[in-house]
Symmetry: C2
């Protein structure tokens, strides 16, 4: 075993997972490092936050992915740094992993743009615990309002950022409120609830066409979502948001989906950094001066054939992970690297039941029910390989047929999420 | 509305839920008080703890149960006390609820018998967060052992108490380890793992026949579970357990299923207390001197037709809740109360795949596959009325057919469960 080249993969998101899978039968010893023991199907994370799916429905144990492939090891740890010269990955604790090849797929997080109060008073939606925490909080706010102990803004939910996450969440939240919570809370005037999207730019869905953005906006407005453009935030506190023009908005729930920040690992990988701090990579996704180190997914600032930066999407990470694995195989057999070519299968965002926008290759734009069906087909296709696809599908089908959202349970870990709203 | 009698129900477990359902169309205003917004299907809680089902699979939003019945309100709060003379239920915060009729179904918890260290160093299995916490912890212990950072006893799981919970958990844990974790952890010698049941008495399953107890013991032993009888615990600490004979056992996971303690509410309800502090009730389940106050389920010390105390089982709570509701209806129409008659449909405990013991009325004892089928039928029957029955059934069927346990994900809320075991 020890004489075989050692490949370390940091992160088992879409990039790392597909890199490891592509090395299952390669003559290498692979170690996948991740702080979680599961792979999440992140495109459906907003469904967990809005009680459409249970947390376990979109998580799959990472070890089960590699069962029967003893050349792949899993290490549950956080990678804290990379020593490119010594070829070592440092882990939390005092441990480190030596490597001959390294694939970094550590993803991205949001940035607060230096605005005060964001980390203390807003909810993120990047991880499974994030989604459960958000679901718990929103349901708890409705409970407080029902008990008469809700403060001003108790039923106001603000989403900062009009990208796909903000749009999908806003649509799903408005359906959760108008379809489910309005029935659950018989004695509460649920029409008081507001879902507000605040966006710095003057349109939704950056990366999509103007037409899709307009379609999404119209769909959100039809659902009763308020969308505010050209908003300049000044800060966030326990009461709500304040804006640069001096106005403010009380809100019990502020969800932060704006901005992109690269993993802190980026600093140790390259001097040259791209948008949001991502690592500028060479054509084969390797790092300058280190042909044995690859960066894939959100953490990589890569360019497409047209020279434009590749978007931060699951397909880019999936294809990047596979490309890095292939390149390692080529290097091991003495063949030269090939440049990474991203195959665009389209982008899509769902605004709710029978409402989605999809932009497919060849300029084909879909919207409404047709867009939603396209979105459904693609996501079911991607769920293949995820063991939970059956359960997720049953939940989803039930949800669709009955408008029910069975997971609207407050799974509290013994402590309240925000004590300031407690009665 | 205000002129109708007010019924307050404390607890929406099996007792409270069925009492409220039975009052859906009664000329009363009902308020159900519970600290959780969901009803749990507790007989399958051990499946969540052992990764067979997701947490959301056995939880159903309590408000959805009463949708369309505006005479039933739900109040998310903890009842802290009852003032029998003023007819008030005190809630956490400074609120209180007046009542004309009161049904208390506050359940039970475990007791540590005054042993040192139990609350700090053992896991309970009474709530959904308990189950998720336990699942997280056990999986984390295996991760630490795999990373070489597990201390002595890292893979030793001890269950204190040989009742149904201890037996069901022990069987499911041994299957989780031998069938799933042994494949997940390719590089770890999983045969090092031990599941140990320690029991004060000299047999398992109090309340069951000697024959069933012997069958369960044989099934556990076949699965590799160690069962120790006549064990006298001296205390529990961070390292493991110490016994009265001076010996000790290192263990990273100690699960406490022993003893029964009544809800603290019992103190305010009656002077006379039965086994485990339960409230001694009259034949119609009302409290002495207060025909308008009923205690049902685990909190009630009621007797069966034969004068023997009724067991703490879901069917007793279900039937008790319905009886209290019926008695309120009778009182409102001027009819006298009737005594509660418990209809015994049998008791059962599952030890694992195709292994269960069931004791049905008429002296019919089932074991092995037949007992397991009986257990399955009864639990599927009870799951009817739970919206998640489809998902739970799919998960379960998958689990059975493939030996898979898809929920073995460590859903960590950002903090480690037990820092002492961290590397």
């Amino acid at each position: 075993m020890g004489v075989r080249p050692r490949v370390v993969i940091i992160g088992s998101g879409f990039g790392g997972l597909n890199a490891a899978r592509a090395l299952k039968s390669a003559p290498v010893d692979v170690t996948v490092v991740d702080r979680d023991n599961y792979v999440g199907f992140w495109p459906l994370l907003y469904q967990v936050a809005t009680a459409g799916l249970g947390a376990d429905d979109i998580a799959y144990p990472v070890r089960a992915t590699y069962a029967g492939h003893p050349n792949i090891r899993v290490r549950l740890a956080t990678a804290t740094g990379v020593d490119l010269d010594a070829r070592l990955v440092h882990l939390d604790g005092h441990d480190s992993l030596p490597y001959d090849f390294l694939i970094v797929s550590a993803g991205s997080s949001t940035t607060d743009f230096g605005l005060p109060g964001v980390s203390e008073h807003t909810f993120a939606l990047k991880t499974l615990p994030d989604a459960v925490r958000l679901r718990n909080h929103i349901l708890t706010m409705f409970e407080h309002a029902d008990a008469g102990s809700g403060e001003r803004g108790a039923l106001i939910i603000v989403l900062v950022g009009g990208g796909p996450t903000g749009v999908e969440l806003a649509g799903a939240l408005s359906e959760l409120i108008s379809r489910n919570l309005s029935r659950d809370f018989t004695h509460l005037d649920v029409t008081r609830a507001r879902v507000v999207v605040v966006e710095k730019a003057d349109r939704l869905l950056p990366g999509f066409s103007d037409r899709s953005a307009a379609t999404a906006l119209a769909a959100l407005v039809r659902k009763g979502v308020e969308v505010r453009f050209g908003v300049r935030l000044a800060g966030v506190d326990a009461r709500g948001l304040t804006f640069e023009d001096g106005s403010s908005l009380d809100a019990s729930t502020i969800i932060w989906t704006a901005g992109v920040a690269a993993s802190p690992l980026a600093g140790g990988l390259a001097a040259e950094r791209g948008r949001g701090g991502a690592v500028v990579v060479r054509a084969d996704l390797s790092v300058a001066g280190h042909p044995e180190v690859f960066v894939v997914g959100d953490l990589a600032a890569a360019s497409g054939r047209d020279g434009r930066p590749l978007p931060q999407l699951a397909p880019v990470a999936i294809q990047g992970g596979r490309h890095a694995a292939r390149t390692i195989r080529r290097q091991l057999s003495g063949r030269p690297s090939r440049p990474f070519r991203y195959h665009n299968h389209g982008i899509m965002a769902t605004i709710g039941r029978r409402e989605a926008v999809a932009e497919l290759p060849g300029g084909l734009h879909l919207a409404g029910t047709l867009g939603w069906v396209a979105w459904l087909v693609v996501h079911l296709f991607f769920l293949v390989g995820f063991r939970n696809r059956i359960v997720a599908f049953v939940n989803w089908a039930w949800n669709y047929l009955t408008w029910d959202r069975a997971s609207r349970v407050i799974l509290d870990d013994g402590r309240r999420i925000t004590d300031r709203w407690a009665p």
